[in-house]
Symmetry: C2
Subunit: 474 residues, 2 copies
Amino acid sequence: MNAPTQTSHLMPELHLREVPDSLIEGLKARFGVNCSTAMAVRTQHGRDESSFDAPPPSAVVFAESTQDVADAVKLASEHSVPVIPFGVGSSLEGHLLAVQGGISIDVSRMNRVLSVNADDLTVTVQPGVTRKQLNDEIKSTGLFFPIDPGADASIGGMTATRASGTNAVRYGTMRENVLALEVVTAGGDVIRTGTRAKKSSAGYDLTRLMVGSEGTLGVVTEVTLRIYPLPEAVSAAICSFPSIEAAVRTTIETIQLGVPIARVELIDVNTVRMVNTYAKLNLREEPMLLMEFHGSPAGVKEQAETVQELASGHGGNAFEWASTPEERTRLWTARHNAYFAAVQSRPGCRVISTDTCVPISRLADCLLDSVAEADASGIPYFLVGHVGDGNFHFGYLLDPNIPEERVKAEELNHSLVSRALALEGTCTGEHGVGLHKMDFLVTEAGVGAIDMMRTIKRALDPKNIMNPGKIFAL
Amino acid sequence: MNAPTQTSHLMPELHLREVPDSLIEGLKARFGVNCSTAMAVRTQHGRDESSFDAPPPSAVVFAESTQDVADAVKLASEHSVPVIPFGVGSSLEGHLLAVQGGISIDVSRMNRVLSVNADDLTVTVQPGVTRKQLNDEIKSTGLFFPIDPGADASIGGMTATRASGTNAVRYGTMRENVLALEVVTAGGDVIRTGTRAKKSSAGYDLTRLMVGSEGTLGVVTEVTLRIYPLPEAVSAAICSFPSIEAAVRTTIETIQLGVPIARVELIDVNTVRMVNTYAKLNLREEPMLLMEFHGSPAGVKEQAETVQELASGHGGNAFEWASTPEERTRLWTARHNAYFAAVQSRPGCRVISTDTCVPISRLADCLLDSVAEADASGIPYFLVGHVGDGNFHFGYLLDPNIPEERVKAEELNHSLVSRALALEGTCTGEHGVGLHKMDFLVTEAGVGAIDMMRTIKRALDPKNIMNPGKIFAL
């Protein structure tokens, strides 16, 4: 087999725009050492956790304030040069790649928790605060921020991609939990959207227009979030099932009954095996649900009994329970290690992660057909899912030296997304569109809705400088 | 005292545009008897529950399908004539008034429940379905749609105003419960937003841009909603308090503790008196909370005990409980009759209703100062509130023959809204902006955010024909 010209990376379509020296000089004059053109810095800011590659941005501005962001955007706007906001770089679909050139605005130094309003169950943070940092800083209040996308992502990035994760089945996604924003617009103006009131009918919902807009409409510089009382009681359990279908049916019935389960994660048998090897566990090598219940002691007990009964109706094996934080951590090890265990199971591999979400009644159909296809493909994979929301991820483990594997994996993903759309689902439950899902979005949303998105984009960013080339082509 | 030239109604600023005969002829040719120019029909469609008056629309089209709506909008667009969607006419802030002339599109005949997906806890309806009709039609599934704004509003209208009401503290508002929409755009095109998947990161959140846009960006022709399992147990209670402050403090602590209370409504002593007279009840004449708890029998008991303890800490009197539907209906009579009881208490009066919402910790401050001002004004009023969300309504009862009362009431409202905004709240929790809150919205959102709303409006409706003159001036 000939060595492929392009080994491990998919090259997105590039339309590089000129970044004039005068802009770089202007940025250096304004930001001094906080504007870097060092190749290592640029390279680090020109990629994310996707397997795409593109030339790096021409410069990176380390913003330390809203004013910094506004000034950087204004300078870029004067030169019609793209700006790409950067948090911790954990996005998955190519969101951070400078496919039209431009500069990166790194907001990771804007990492202060600005105010904690424990009495109102709200908190206001700068965009560079990560979710773990936030939870550390508010721990003493007895409150917590539930959204957990896996990575220790920045709140700004989570806002931009409308992130969710394991707790969303109970607490909602960033859509439900962002109350208000400060945003630097494409013109470099600073606007505020929303208030700290829990609800409002005051005009267009700019907050939710910004949430999930992937940096294409503005740079988020402040986020007000809902936070929640730490539950009085927390109980976690794992349960093995004779088949994925049995695990999924249990989940579907749990949701349909209205059990307020806080987490319900599917781990397929491949993943269990990988985790056993990686973390030296001896979990039963069967599909597994990891569950967590939040509430009063009596409430947690009641929820758990209900789900246990549903599980045993589907051949679920004895629950293993954990009520102390240490025991819970141990149980959740399997889920938290899934990605690393998978990567380690095929040394040198790259991962392509899928991310569909379907109405809960369609979950078994969507999952089982996709598992059958993945099994037939011969490509190693793992499967995990926030199945209570109908959301799941295949991770295809590719040998970068075998380009056919990428082709096959993309075919599997295409088939999976098409199936999800046919079942009234979405092409991305939580990762966002980025570069990777642009075609799927057209299929999902239809030309009319995409045209409406384009019209909004053109109106709010007439020079097309805000993270251009993402979500849809203009 | 001289008779005022304008007695009972506030006249909004008018910028009437020409409605050419050729448009009316075109509509008659297309819609036959479903296009009416009868004055009685036009008059009925040119007002809502606000106390504003404007000349009626030039014609009313009774749409029976999405195609009807699209064709009516296209014809109007060709002539640059405004279109105003009409459901049941229960909006409160002048949303339906033809302040720039135009035609009304009545969608009340589009009143079919299109599909009930009980397994997914979703339902898809036409916009003319009312919330009570929806709940009647899905009763047999064991599911219900919780949003209850008081009036038996249409789902289309509730979508347009981002309605909420008594159950929102537990189940959220239309913002959280609309999953997907079909919308006729200003150009007469039909687009779809969202899917039936519970969550998605697929592009701009057009669904939530449309929710609350008050007909200014498009006409909603189909709505997919979340529905919920009827709770296993429901228990309602009333509790009287020595002061409004005591009732509000009890509410604040309930929310801060994370008790998942389903309803918590404040009724002030004025309202209790009015309801006692109107409905021949003998409720204790003190401020009162009406509460409802949903859950398992044990969960409901536990919630109720917690709240009872909090209430007694604030001098709350013995709870009166109701667990059967009949008893619950009796208890809720006080709340449901509040408006009619108030109107009857001052024969011939008109009501100006306020609608602010503040972060829960600010609720006592906002409410108590506003009560003091209302008491000092001498204007009769009633006060009810969805206090669990920090949202409440004063209803000022005006003698239409005393114009000074309207001036005073508007001053009270102005003072109330200013107070709410200073306390980080919103000028409208659930009624919308319409005509009445346009100035307040500018104060709340700031010029930058309003400009962004305007830019979106101009881009999506370049001829400014979709319910023009509402939310903000262009």
